[in-house]
Structure formats: structure tokens, C-alpha cells
């Protein structure tokens, strides 16, 4: 079922590791709306190794969630096409959406899960993977559980969909799952309805449900955004601990750099449907190489360092209906020059570090100098040292 397929290196500067659990290559997802076609994800590539935590960071609408939803085919009315001519995938996708009444969204590209392209997998195969090999938890635990079924019923359903067990055994597994995520008096609470749980407890239930079939990959889509701060820390701690116990790889989608700084191994910074920077967490904080990341770091509120004021990134993220020509960040970037107006930068590895990718045309010396200035200003280096 999970035989490994050796995939060829696709080039284009991908930092492809042969033992990747999930390799996303040039993923694109467009949506049809009344205003036109929204290019929600437009050429995104990254890798996730087994057991690794990858933080995906970006503003609302930068395509973080859609990227993950596309991989699992969970977008509304999804269509999937394979693009033959690599030069103009966007046009083919737009033509597909305009020509189809049945589809609202379309994805193309590759999402190789253990070598198997999920973007070409059958619906049945995807159903078999969802919830068993790749699980997902969502932002709002208040609305993510079915209000008319007990949490026990919903956990049992998750087990029975993927494991060949009796209802009694499934219930036992559900009970163990609830205990593992720290639901007090789980024996009694298993028959309660979601509205009888607090937000934090519901998110614990969601986590129990996502991990009940021992998946290889857990996608957590802003799992703490809707929770209060103390609960946030508990939930993040729980995810980390379960990840260690089960060896699950985790994709942590968030708009909060602070959250991923503590939990992630790698960070993918997304901006306007593309990857701006992709680096190991220490590298990203010590030596950020993309102007957008500098802006993000500058706008991070901190208690430990006295700053004159928080800096904000001027302007608004671009419309994904008609993204600007050239680099997507160019209209807000104070370093932009001619080339940024003409070409769309790919995320390419730095010469000194294969694993550090940034989509920026600035010369490397310039990036390093600016990076050093930003890091010193924000005193990130002292924190890293400590």
C-alpha cells in the first residue's frame, strides 16, 4: 500500500530529500469566484520529512490553508488536472475552470506522499488516506465537531472508517485516545456532546480524533488561533508531546511566527500564494533572507527586547485575482529594483546553505548585510545565543 517510488529530481532548485514523507512540487490551486479567478496557490514547493515539524507562516489569504486542503482534495468542488505543457499551467487551469460547471476549484502539480502523487490519486484512495495516514485539525474547535453526535460517536466513526474492528474495540480506542489527550474523567465524558466541552477540550478531542489512526502526517491548520493564550500553550505542548510519542510529522499552519519559533524544525514563509522563504527554524531567525520575512520579524511583538516601536510592512497584500507582475512582494518592498518588476522569483537555495531557500533577486551579499542589520536591531541573535 505504501511502496516507495523513487522519484526523479525535478530540478528548479528544489531541496529534495530522498527520504521525504511529503514532497510538494509546483502546486497550484485556483478558485472560480464571481469576481474572476483567484490564484490562491500559485507554484508552491516544499518537503516534509517523517517526524518533522514544518511551520507554514503567512498572512490571511497567503494560501497556507488552501495548499494543505489541495493536497487532501478538500477544496470546494475540486477539480484536478495534469498540465502537459509546463510553460503555461495557469492558463490551462483558468480554461478548465471557465469550461467546467461542476468545479469551483482546480489544482495541479505534484504532492508526493511516500512517492504517490496525491493530486492524481483516485477519490477512493484519497478517502483511505485521509484520517488514517494524513489527518487534519482545524482552526475553530467550536464548529469543527458535529453538534448532534457525542464525541465518542465521532471518534468511533474515525476508527471504524479505517480499522477493521468491532464497535466495542473502536470505543475502547476512542477512550484511550481521549485519555491520551488529557480529557479528565474520559470514561464519562466520552458520551457527552461537543457543546458540553470547552474550546480547549474540544480541540483536544479534535487532536484525539486526528491521531486515533496513528497517521504519518498531521496537518494542524491554525490549531490555537481560536483559543485563549494559556490554552494555546497547552494545545501546542500536547501536539509536540504526541508528535514525539508517535513519530508523526506535523505541518503547523499559523500566522504567528512566535508559535512556530518554539515548535517547528523548518519554516515555510508564504506570501501571496507563493513560498517567499523556506529554511530551518534557527537559520530563519538568525539569517532571514527575504525582505518579507524581515518585515514579519519586525512586526513580531516581544516582551524581552525593548524596541522603539513595532515596524509594520507598508501596504496591503496583493489581490490574488490580478497579482502584480514580477515579484509579488515588489509593491511593498523597499529593496525592489528593475528585475523584480519583470520576473517572478523562485525560491532558490542560498550558496552557503542548501537548506535555506529564498525567493528574492537581491544579491546574496546584500541580503546577508540587511539580514544582519535586521537581526541585530531586533536582538534576535542574542536570543538565539541564549
Amino acid at each position: 500500500m505504501t511502496d516507495r517510488v523513487v522519484t526523479s529530481d525535478l530540478g528548479s532548485g528544489s531541496s529534495q530529500s530522498p527520504d521525504a514523507l511529503l514532497e510538494v512540487r509546483d502546486l497550484r490551486t485556483y478558485f472560480k469566484t464571481d469576481d474572476g479567478i483567484v490564484k490562491a496557490v500559485d507554484g508552491v514547493s516544499f518537503d516534509i520529512r517523517p517526524g518533522q515539524t514544518v511551520g507554514v507562516v503567512g498572512e490571511s489569504g497567503s494560501g497556507k490553508s488552501v495548499t494543505m486542503m489541495s493536497i487532501l482534495d478538500l477544496n470546494p468542488k475540486p477539480g484536478r488536472i495534469s498540465v502537459r505543457d509546463d510553460t503555461a499551467p495557469g492558463e490551462q487551469m483558468e480554461a478548465f475552470l471557465r469550461g467546467s460547471k461542476k468545479h469551483v476549484s482546480v489544482s495541479t502539480g505534484e504532492a508526493l506522499f511516500r512517492g504517490e502523487n496525491l493530486l492524481q490519486a483516485s477519490k477512493r484512495r484519497l478517502r483511505a488516506l485521509r484520517g488514517s495516514e494524513i489527518s487534519m485539525i482545524f482552526q475553530d474547535p467550536m464548529t469543527s465537531l458535529n453538534p448532534v453526535l457525542t464525541v465518542g460517536d465521532q471518534l468511533v466513526e474515525a476508527v471504524m472508517l479505517h480499522q477493521d474492528v468491532t464497535t466495542r474495540q473502536a470505543r475502547q480506542l476512542a477512550l484511550e485516545g481521549l485519555k491520551e489527550v488529557g480529557i479528565p474523567r474520559a470514561e464519562r465524558r466520552i458520551d457527552d456532546y461537543p457543546h458540553q466541552f470547552s474550546g480547549g477540550m474540544r480541540q483536544r478531542v479534535m487532536i484525539a480524533m486526528a491521531l486515533i489512526n496513528d497517521p504519518a502526517l498531521l496537518i494542524a491548520d491554525e490549531p490555537t488561533t481560536a483559543l485563549d493564550v494559556t490554552t494555546q500553550a497547552q494545545i501546542l505542548g500536547l501536539i509536540q508531546q504526541l508528535q514525539r510519542d508517535h513519530g508523526t510529522a506535523v505541518v503547523l499552519i499559523t500566522h504567528d511566527l512566535g508559535v512556530v519559533a518554539e515548535t517547528a524544525d523548518d519554516i515555510v514563509v508564504m506570501y501571496a500564494a507563493r513560498v517567499a522563504e523556506h529554511a530551518p527554524v534557527y537559520s530563519l531567525f538568525e539569517q532571514p533572507l527575504h525582505p518579507y520575512t524581515w518585515g514579519l520579524l519586525g512586526s513580531l511583538p516581544r516582551l524581552d527586547v525593548e524596541l522603539e516601536r513595532l515596524t509594520q510592512i507598508v501596504g496591503q497584500p496583493p489581490s490574488l485575482l490580478r497579482p502584480p507582475r514580477g515579484c509579488r512582494f515588489r509593491p511593498r518592498c523597499s529593496f525592489a529594483f528593475d528585475r523584480c518588476r519583470q520576473e517572478l522569483p523562485e525560491a532558490l537555495p542560498a550558496t552557503f546553505d542548501e537548506s535555506h531557500l529564498a525567493a528574492c533577486f537581491l544579491p546574496e551579499e546584500r541580503k546577508l548585510a540587511e539580514s544582519k542589520r535586521v537581526v541585530t536591531e531586533l536582538a534576535l541573535d542574542s536570543e538565539a545565543a541564549a
Binding site: L72, L74, K101, R127, A128, L129, R130, G131, S132, S135, M136, F138, D140, T143, S144, L145, N146, P147, V148, L149, T150, E157, A158, L161, H162, Y193, H195, M206, M209
Partner: protein, 323 residues
């Protein structure tokens, strides 16, 4: 739960007194003399006065109303008809099964139509079937019941002779001299009334189910179910329909309650001896006791069905607790 029931029953009593009192007041506001009508065309002034005295119409309104309440509470009697001196209890007793058959049969029919139509058009918005449904809904909601009934009667019953034009047959014990009887004849005569009665409701229910299902499809827990790997049929059945049909249960209970009070148009068109026709005739004859009898029964039907809806709702929706 007990406390809840007590509160509900007290409230029902208040409602009951209010509704019957209003009926009384409205009746006596009518610029017509029920005694004159009951006494007949050639009655003299003394005759009318005597009839008025017999019927108790010469007493003040509050006394008449008090008498009505006393009779109802102590003797469980709704009195006798002004028009034919029959016991109102008896007349209502005969009419209820007819109306109940019409309403319940109609409700089953309209749900059988509305449920699949609503769900399918919600799952395939803007498809051919969805557009056809929307046209059906538009016609069903805009066309008056009377017109639909007459049309069906004319074409299906009269022109094509597929069903009887009108009339009612007893299911179990046809009275002596009846031309028809038994379940088969009964159902045969009820087909057109059922269809007529169901069209309006089927349309509005299909529309309601369609929009509920579409709303529910966008819920986060439906996405959760899909993310769990549930096949679409299970997602629809277990996660979408369970939630989308909750409000439909409420509407169904309320509509059946209201309809039990008399489906006046449908009964009038197809000459069914139900509560609706009884109510209509009692108004035309200024027959206060019969009118009041129908009002009492209709009020009770609505109160009881409301209570049933509340109890059922608390059972199917765990978020609601009766307290």
C-alpha cells in the same frame, strides 16, 4: 421536565381562554342575528325572540361565555348546533378523522416529494434538476390551493376520469346506503385532495430543505467528516442531513397543527366532510357552538403539536434541554 410540562399546560390554558374569548367577541360583533337565521325565513318577531331565548342569545355576552366554559369544563360538551341542534362533540368527532386523513396523508406525500427534491437540488446547485425544482417551487408557492385543486379536479378527475371528482368514503364502516367504502375506495377518493394539499407544502419544504442542506454543507464539521475519510454518502446522511433536518421537524409539527384546524380550501373543493367544511358552514349559518367547537379543536391541535415538537426537538438536538 415536569416543571416544564406544568408551565406549558398553564400557558396552554391561558391561550385557550384567549382564543375562545376572541371568537365570542368577534361573533357578536357580526352585524347579523343568529336567532333570526335559526328561526327560519317565515318566523315572526316573537318566534325569533323565543329562539333567541332558547339558544341563550338574549343573555349578556359574558354570561354566555361563562356558560360555554362551564359546559366545556364540567360536562366536556361543546353544546348543540344552532343550525341543526346536533351535538357539536359528535359533529367534530365525525369531521376529525377526515381532516386527519387528509393532513397526515398529505404530509407524508409532501415530505416524500420535498426531501429527495430538496436534498438533490442542494447537492447539485444550478444543475438541470435544481433549475426544474426551482420552477416547481415557484409554481407551488405562488399558485393558490384553490386553483391547483380545481385544475386537478377538472383534468385528472373530470377530463381523464382517473380519479373521482370529489366526495369521501369511509375507511372502515361505511354508513348504510353509502355508495362506497373500505380502504381502497377511501384512498382512491383521497388521491386528489392529498396531491392538492401537498403541492404548496412540498414546494416550500423543498425550498427550506434545499437551503438548509446547502448551509450545512458549508459547516466546519462537514469538512471534518470529509477530512476523516468518510465517504460522501456517509457525510451527507450522518453529518449533513441530521443537522439540516432539525428545523424541518419544527416546521412540520407546526404546519400539521395548523392544518388540522381545517384545510378549508381543499375540503371545500373536494367536498370532504372535514373540519374545514364544518367551519365554513358554521360561519355561513352563524352557528356559534359549531364554530367555537372547531376553534377549540384547532387550538388544542396547535398546542399539542407544539408540545410534541418541543419534546421531539429536545430528543433529537442534544443542545436543547427542556427547563
Amino acid at each position: 421536565m415536569t416543571q416544564y410540562l406544568i408551565r406549558r399546560i398553564l400557558w396552554a390554558a391561558v391561550l385557550f381562554v384567549g382564543v375562545t374569548l376572541i371568537t365570542y367577541v368577534l361573533f357578536f360583533l357580526l352585524p347579523a342575528d343568529p336567532a333570526r337565521l335559526a328561526a327560519g325565513k317565515s318566523a315572526t318577531a316573537e318566534d325569533v325572540e323565543r329562539v333567541a331565548h332558547q339558544l341563550g342569545l338574549d343573555r349578556p355576552i359574558h354570561e354566555q361565555y361563562g356558560l360555554f366554559l362551564k359546559r366545556l369544563v364540567v360536562d366536556h360538551s361543546l353544546g348543540r348546533s344552532y343550525a341543526n341542534r346536533r351535538s357539536v362533540n359528535e359533529m367534530i368527532g365525525e369531521a376529525v378523522p377526515v381532516t386527519a386523513a387528509l393532513v397526515i396523508g398529505g404530509a407524508i406525500l409532501w415530505m416524500l416529494i420535498a426531501l429527495p427534491v430538496g436534498v438533490i437540488s442542494a447537492l447539485r446547485p444550478r444543475s438541470l434538476i435544481d433549475r426544474a425544482t426551482m420552477i416547481f417551487i415557484l409554481i407551488g408557492i405562488s399558485a393558490p390551493v384553490v386553483w391547483i385543486g380545481l385544475l386537478l379536479q377538472y383534468f385528472v378527475g373530470f377530463k381523464w376520469g382517473l380519479t373521482p371528482n370529489a366526495g369521501y368514503c369511509d375507511v372502515f364502516s361505511p354508513p348504510d346506503g353509502a355508495t362506497c367504502g373500505g380502504p381502497a375506495d377511501w384512498a382512491y377518493h383521497m388521491i386528489l385532495p392529498w396531491v392538492t394539499f401537498a403541492v404548496l407544502f412540498a414546494a416550500s419544504y423543498a425550498r427550506m430543505i434545499r437551503s438548509n442542506v446547502m448551509d450545512t454543507l458549508g459547516e466546519d464539521y462537514v469538512r471534518t467528516a470529509r477530512a476523516k475519510g468518510a465517504p460522501e454518502s456517509l457525510v451527507i446522511r450522518r453529518h449533513v442531513l441530521r443537522n439540516a433536518l432539525l428545523p424541518v421537524v419544527t416546521m412540520l409539527g407546526l404546519d400539521i397543527g395548523v392544518a388540522l384546524g381545517g384545510a378549508i380550501f381543499t375540503e371545500a373543493i373536494f367536498n370532504l366532510p372535514g373540519l374545514g367544511r364544518l367551519a365554513l358552514n358554521s360561519v355561513l349559518n352563524l352557528d356559534l357552538p359549531t364554530m367555537q367547537g372547531v376553534v377549540v379543536f384547532a387550538t388544542l391541535a396547535i398546542i399539542v403539536l407544539n408540545l410534541i415538537v418541543d419534546i421531539v426537538y429536545a430528543y433529537i438536538d442534544p443542545r436543547i434541554r427542556l427547563a
